[in-house]
Symmetry: C2
């Protein structure tokens, strides 16, 4: 499997697809491969994009890809759908649209769904970013469907986060939940040709003025993705945030936090596996679960007793 890493570093597209599949399927060689890949990462700039379904997020990504390519930057796109258990599934229409770029060797697009737990998906996303980073992409775009907590977690892997809102149907107010306000570095108010767009933009601005006491004020760019309107401004806003992050030293700080999160994830993942191996060897879980179901025992003291029989001492 070592040749896969060599192929990746030599720019072979096939190896990227192969490696991301191995990550998704928790292939036994995955850890070893990621260990080798990691030393070649840290160069790509990661942009996270999130927004409610129907906000036109994917066509914005599409528009941005043209801008990015016009500056001769290469880009990897990871489209994450936390509600889909299928890889490569995601949203059919979006993926078809993205195929405009399929023949451009400077773009690599990959969809990821949840195969197991959610924690698993943010871990896989992080690992897939490492693959695209080591592959040499200048930028990695992580696009997630929706604005739930799971999407917030996934977007935390990004250096710059773009939140896409629309003025439609009071949507503005409804989707700007606290979690979203905190993660947004740039807002795109898409579908800004709708009548109440200016009011929605003003509303967002008021919320931002209330909430953020930061050196960076997230700009609100009023885009119309299907008409390609204000995409230049959006791209400039994203670049401006990047310069701010790099210039202020915040980028390094943010990346340290991500490393801490990744290390935590890895440790907890390893520990969990080891614990269950030990537990399965020593304890008749079926009988224990039955006893708890019948209220003869409770899960709180049972879990303590269970741990006493493993090597995880206090």
């Amino acid at each position: 499997m070592q040749h896969l890493v060599a192929e990746l570093l030599n720019g072979k597209r096939r190896s990227v697809a192969k490696l991301i599949s191995m990550i998704e399927n928790d292939h036994p060689d995955k850890r070893q491969l990621l260990t080798e890949i990691y030393a070649h990462t840290g160069r790509a700039y990661v942009i996270g994009i999130t927004g409610a379904p129907g906000s036109g997020k994917s066509s914005l990504v599409d528009n941005l890809l043209y801008k990015i390519r016009s500056e001769n930057l290469t880009v990897g796109v990871i489209a994450v759908d936390p509600t889909s258990p299928f890889t490569g599934g995601a949203i059919l229409g979006d993926r078809i649209r993205m195929q405009d770029h399929a023949l451009d060797p400077g773009i690599f697009v990959r969809s990821m769904g949840t195969r197991g737990s959610l924690g698993g998906l943010s871990r896989s996303t992080r690992e897939a970013i490492h693959v695209l980073d080591a592959f040499g992409k200048d930028l990695v775009i992580v696009e997630t469907v929706g604005v739930g907590q799971s999407e917030v977690d996934i977007v935390k892997t990004a250096d710059t986060t773009l939140v896409v809102l629309t003025p439609a149907g009071g949507d503005g107010v409804q989707t700007i939940k606290a979690g979203i306000m905190e993660i947004a570095d740039v807002f795109a108010l898409n579908k800004s040709d709708l009548p109440n767009a200016d009011r929605a933009a003003a509303e967002i601005k008021i919320m931002l003025d209330m909430n953020k006491e930061d050196c960076w004020k997230p700009p609100i760019v009023q885009t119309v993705s299907i008409k390609n309107e204000n995409i230049d401004q959006l791209w400039e806003a994203l670049k401006k945030h990047r310069h701010y992050m790099e210039g202020s030293g915040r980028l390094l700080e943010a990346r340290r936090k991500r490393v801490a999160r990744e290390l935590t994830e890895q440790v907890e993942y390893l520990v969990k596996n080891r614990i269950w191996e030990q537990v399965k060897e020593k304890i008749d879980l079926e009988t224990l679960i039955n006893a708890i179901t019948l209220r003869e025992k409770d899960p709180y003291s049972a879990s303590l007793e269970l741990l006493d029989k493993t090597h995880v001492t206090e």
Copy 2:
């Protein structure tokens, strides 16, 4: 704190609010209290309700509360918003509406937001259900905003799951993701006074016919919550599923699975805490994180080395 459990079992409302707050805040006495409470649980029937924002989910719950109370059943409602970091925050309008029932002693309503991780929220929800169950509520309704994976995880705590869809704007197809199809026991197609409602119902039916090879065929009830239309049918469908679950022995099976999940959560929660206590004592995490950020080390081998220094052996 022991008196709190006594108060709970004696039907004191104040103790319910207090206990759920302690659960949310991870109070040090929480485990002990839950251990005592657990023996008094297992009687309440749990109904999970999920659907996209704007689907009219909350007014359906509202309508159902009148039905439930007309049968002299008592009910606890936990409204979970995974995107909100605030307790009691949730969606303002919904909560205000729910206050119609605030003076009815047979109803207890509580909002929960995410205070920490998502895993934490599904754990807190499960624990809050135990509290309401021991409090003596016949039914517990868990309502979650949205249809993401996080909501799916939360709804897995339910005996019967109602998924609320609407015919509006191709929404039907968009929100019926694989995860949702699997968890739905009953569908409410709300806003069924919209012109394309019948077509949407037919579409859902086709998807169900393709996907489910089960003894239980999830019924699709076309409701109009704001006009109180077909709420009787919806309530009957929910009761019918309950009878099916109880009669077929599936309820016990489902509850065993939930116990297994809760036990797993508890064990992993304890293990994580113990590990980080040990790690913090023995390892200079800051230096390690810096080294990984600078690519001098990688998180994969670092996490293995880190575990070697704890008591979690292989």
